[in-house]
């Protein structure tokens, strides 16, 4: 055991298993560790997000596990859905990464029984909170519990949320959920605590194929466009981005999605809406139409009830 390792063993409580690897002891967190793991330095004031390239996903669910481990989230269910390898079902208050498994069917609607070499009949996609540019959940939150962080991500402050639940129907992607046990809204924080410490989010760091890429949003968008071109030139005609500025998934005033995706099939296949909208755009039309109705009926009332004076 080296002297440094000796000292750190004494300095902090260490799991006995960790003593097997004295060489791996560190005096503390590696500063800006994200530069080592994903080539991105995390600095407040910049915009961070995920680029999830579904063509690289192998469905290992390491992202789901890493997310649950880091954020100490309990399991949602221990049953089988009976529909695919997806036994998670969907995003929820306790599940902030969800790997969707879609078995492609042949043109006759039945499962393909023959495959080209090295091709898979499965589409896999790791779904997550989109951290929208104009985030409907944040815009709906009446307490200010939902806020935009210095990393341009959207987070629920658990010490503020009063569980009104308005963010749940506000989300166009069905991401935000209430936990009935604690009565608060929960969703992916894009590992706010890890970003503060210069660490890459847990799911992206755990992804073994770099299907989940973490980085600065403009950089990721450029990288994603190159990837689409590359795939198209390789013959993947359906490759396209979901959540690029103003494009599919970021329509109706949403701007762009900080967590965006490369898909090869139409978004509905993955359970994603092709043309979501920004709910806040409907506030004024509703209020004005309602107030106009009240004003019109008030004038009618004045005319009608004033008849008594005649």
């Amino acid at each position: 055991m080296s002297v440094t390792a000796e000292r750190s063993v004494q300095a902090v409580h260490v799991h006995p298993r960790a003593r097997d690897y004295p060489g791996s002891f560190l005096d503390g967190v590696i500063p800006n560790e994200s530069e080592l793991t994903c080539g991105t330095r995390i600095e407040p004031g910049k915009s961070y997000g995920f680029f999830t390239d579904t063509t690289l996903c192998i469905g290992c669910k390491a992202c789901e596990v890493a997310c649950k481990e880091w954020n100490a989230l309990p399991a949602d269910s221990v049953g089988f859905t009976g529909m695919s390898y997806d036994n998670t079902g969907g995003l929820s208050a306790n599940t902030w990464r969800h790997v969707a498994f879609i078995e492609k069917r042949g043109p006759t609607g039945t499962r393909q029984t023959d495959q080209d070499a090295f091709q898979s009949g499965w589409l896999m996609m790791s779904d997550v909170c989109k951290h929208c540019h104009n985030a409907p959940c944040l815009e709906a939150c009446p307490t200010g519990a939902l806020f935009r962080t210095e990393f341009d991500t959207v987070v629920v402050q658990q010490d503020i949320c009063n569980g009104c639940g308005y963010c749940v129907p506000a989300c166009p992607f069905g991401v935000v959920d209430l936990n009935p046990l604690d009565g608060k809204a929960h969703k992916c924080t894009l590992c706010y605590d890890r970003l503060k410490g210069g660490l890459e989010p847990a799911c992206a760091k755990a992804c073994p194929t770099d299907s989940i890429q973490f980085g600065e949003v403009p950089e990721l968008q450029a990288r994603a466009e190159q990837r689409v071109e590359q795939l198209q030139s390789l013959g993947v005609a359906g490759a396209h981005l979901y959540g690029a500025p103003g494009g599919e998934g970021a329509t109706g005033g949403l701007g762009h999605l900080n967590a965006f995706f490369l898909l090869t099939e139409r978004p509905e296949t993955y359970g994603l809406p092709p043309a979501p909208t920004r709910p806040a755009n409907r506030v004024a039309p509703g209020l004005l139409a309602g107030l106009a109705t009240m004003a019109g009926l008030a004038l009618g009332a004045l005319a009608l009830l004033g008849g008594g004076r005649r």
Binding site: T81, C171, V176, L287, L291, L305
Partner: protein, 329 residues
């Protein structure tokens, strides 16, 4: 594990592939009876306060009593209504966090402050009514009169902001028709307030003003019926027609809101206007009761049918197609 709904019934909006027909949206976690009850009470209280201010200007027979009844009805919102809202929070002890901020993109935040303004001004009008004659408390009377206008304006907003609250979500049924839903809620609020005030005037044997209130209710119900038809047309156009196939859609929206709450009182009030005044009293009271029940059914029914569309991926994905996007300004 979330509940897996069966395949969509009726005319499916979207026939392409979905993710195992699992919901792609989450329904609002509101208790539909509790929140529907609040929307009904807020509408009734807000419109009653607005009508109270109007009758004090128009001065029909017995207007002082009508205004007092309207003021008293307005208390339903800050008391029972606010109680229902807090009850529906999943962390109710933090209800005061609603007052931390004002957010103009959130009708729930706007509504919180509308309810605060309405509660304060309504309390002043009621205090002036009930305590204004007590020696030493006469200063309450000018205060009550000063509070009338803010109470009426915030009452008008309280009677209709709840439609905007529902529309400013991603739940397809609510998002599909923001304007028609607001007109429908606003008209239903006025109709329910007219019904309650009319019942009170009939009890006090002031049939003349009750008849005027019934006529006003008739106008409001006409507007509500038109908005209901507009809602239905829009829902069918964007492939949400099947929402009305749910039990709640059929029973609460078609049966409760449209038939009992709108068509029946329209028929009764119209018949009452044609008949001699003395012969129409029972019909008027029945119409008023039906209006109140229908107004409550409308709110619970819209909440329930909306949740159903959120849970049905063929309807939510069908609504979220590019053809349904609002036109670019």
């Amino acid at each position: 594990m979330h509940d897996m709904p069966g395949p969509a019934q009726g005319g499916s909006a979207y026939d392409g592939p979905t993710y195992y027909d699992r919901p792609s949206l989450k329904p609002a976690p509101f208790n539909t009876t509790v929140v529907g009850g609040y929307i009904f009470l807020a509408g009734l209280a807000g419109a009653a306060q607005m009508l109270a201010a109007l009758v004090r200007r128009a001065r029909p027979p017995g207007f002082r009593r009508v205004a007092r009844t309207g003021h008293a009805l307005s208390l339903l919102a800050p008391t029972l209504g606010a109680g229902l809202l807090i009850y529906d929070l999943h962390t109710p002890q933090r209800f005061a966090n609603m007052l931390r901020i004002f957010r103009r993109t959130s009708p729930m935040s706007i509504g919180t402050w509308v309810l605060m303004a309405f509660s304060g001004s309504s309390l002043a009008t009621v205090a002036a009514d009930w305590l204004g004659r007590v020696p030493g408390l006469r200063w309450l009377r000018p205060l009550g009169r000063a509070a009338e206008l803010p109470a009426a304006v915030s009452g008008a907003a309280l009677g209709t902001y709840t439609a905007s609250l529902l529309s400013a979500t991603s739940t397809p049924l609510w998002a599909a028709t923001p304007r028609a839903l607001a007109v429908r809620f606003g008209a239903s609020s006025v109709a329910s307030a007219c019904a309650a005030l009319s019942l009170a005037e009939r009890r006090a044997d002031n049939h003349r003003t009750a008849r005027d209130l019934d006529t006003l209710a008739l106008a409001a119900l006409g507007v509500e019926l038109a908005a209901s038809l507009a809602c239905r047309r829009r829902w069918r156009a964007v492939g949400l027609g099947a929402a009305e196939d749910t039990v709640s859609g059929k029973v609460l929206l078609e049966g409760g809101a449209d038939l009992v709450g709108t068509a029946l009182p329209i028929a009764l009030h119209a018949a009452a206007l044609a008949a001699p005044p003395a012969a129409s009293r029972r019909g008027s009271a029945l119409g008023s009761f039906a209006t109140l029940i229908g107004s409550l059914c409308l709110r619970i029914g819209v909440l329930e049918a909306g949740d159903a569309t959120a849970l049905r991926p063929r309807e939510s994905l069908g609504f979220a197609q590019p053809r349904n996007l609002p036109r670019q300004r």
